[in-house]
């Protein structure tokens, strides 16, 4: 039962997707960090983020980034748990927490990006 639960699949696809998303993330993350932290003043406030996030291109970039990062992170957690937690009850519990956390973070992050309204930029009083 235990073994079947773990190794019902060979993990081959997971192994491949982890590498594929890893390459994407390496590129996206270096770009993200360079834009957010290396270029500009280093101070990040609402205006700097809103200017970028009002563009649909940046929304797409950030959304792809979010999905890849969450998938890669949760799949990584999955493998680590697979290596160290062997009791069925604990596995099911911890795996459930990982899946739930992943879905919750996807909803929170996805809503933040998708529903971000640029008109807030115009109505925000401190924005000159």
């Amino acid at each position: 039962m235990n073994i079947k639960f773990v190794t019902g699949d060979s993990g081959m696809k997971r192994w491949f997707y982890q590498r594929l998303t890893g390459i994407f993330l390496a590129v996206l993350l270096v770009a993200h960090f360079t834009i957010m932290h290396f270029i500009g003043t280093g101070e990040i406030d609402y205006r700097t983020v809103a200017q970028r996030l009002s563009s649909p291109y940046w929304k797409t970039f950030d959304l792809a980034f979010l999905v890849f990062a969450l998938y890669h992170g949760m799949a990584g957690l999955w493998v680590v748990i697979d290596d160290y937690v062997h009791k069925d009850g604990w596995r099911i519990f911890i795996y459930s927490v990982v899946v739930l956390a992943g879905v919750l973070l996807l909803i929170i992050g996805g809503l933040t990006i998708i529903t971000f309204a640029p008109h807030v930029l115009l109505t925000f009083p401190g924005n000159m």
């Binding site: 590498r19 932290h37 290396f38 996030l53 809503l111 807030v120 925000f124």
Partner: protein
């Protein structure tokens, strides 16, 4: 006594250290990602977002951010090393690949650290 078939035995080589560090940095990054998504979700409230960001612009967090850059570089560069070894026959030259990525990683870290320190002392 029944032997635990899942018992993991690690032999310590450079590769083992790299692998353990990959796990630890990965766990740290997952934790950071969760906090990051939580902080950014304040974007629906401009004043609230600026308040949080003003707090996070403290020098302490800036220094932690440089640490984060280091963790990211490690995880990304070691990940690319794994891909080179897995897909491109890098296992034949894995020692050279290892030192190659160490050099690239150090250069990337310094390249990122320069603007960071510049912002800090400004």
């Amino acid at each position: 006594m029944k032997k635990n078939i899942y018992e993991l035995k690690y032999r310590y080589h450079t590769g083992t250290a790299a692998w353990i560090l990959h796990r630890l940095s990965g766990l740290a990054l997952v934790l950071y990602l969760a906090m990051h998504i939580w902080v950014i979700h304040n974007l629906d409230n401009p004043a609230g977002f600026n308040k949080v960001m003003a707090f996070l612009n403290m020098p302490l967090f800036k220094i932690l951010e440089l640490g984060l850059w280091g963790v990211i570089i490690y995880h990304a560069i070691n990940g690319l090393r794994i891909i080179l070894v897995d897909f491109f026959g890098g296992s034949k030259a894995q020692k050279q690949v290892f030192w190659g990525v160490v050099v690239v990683g150090i250069i990337m870290f310094i390249a990122g650290a320069i603007p960071f320190v510049g912002h800090l002392v400004k």
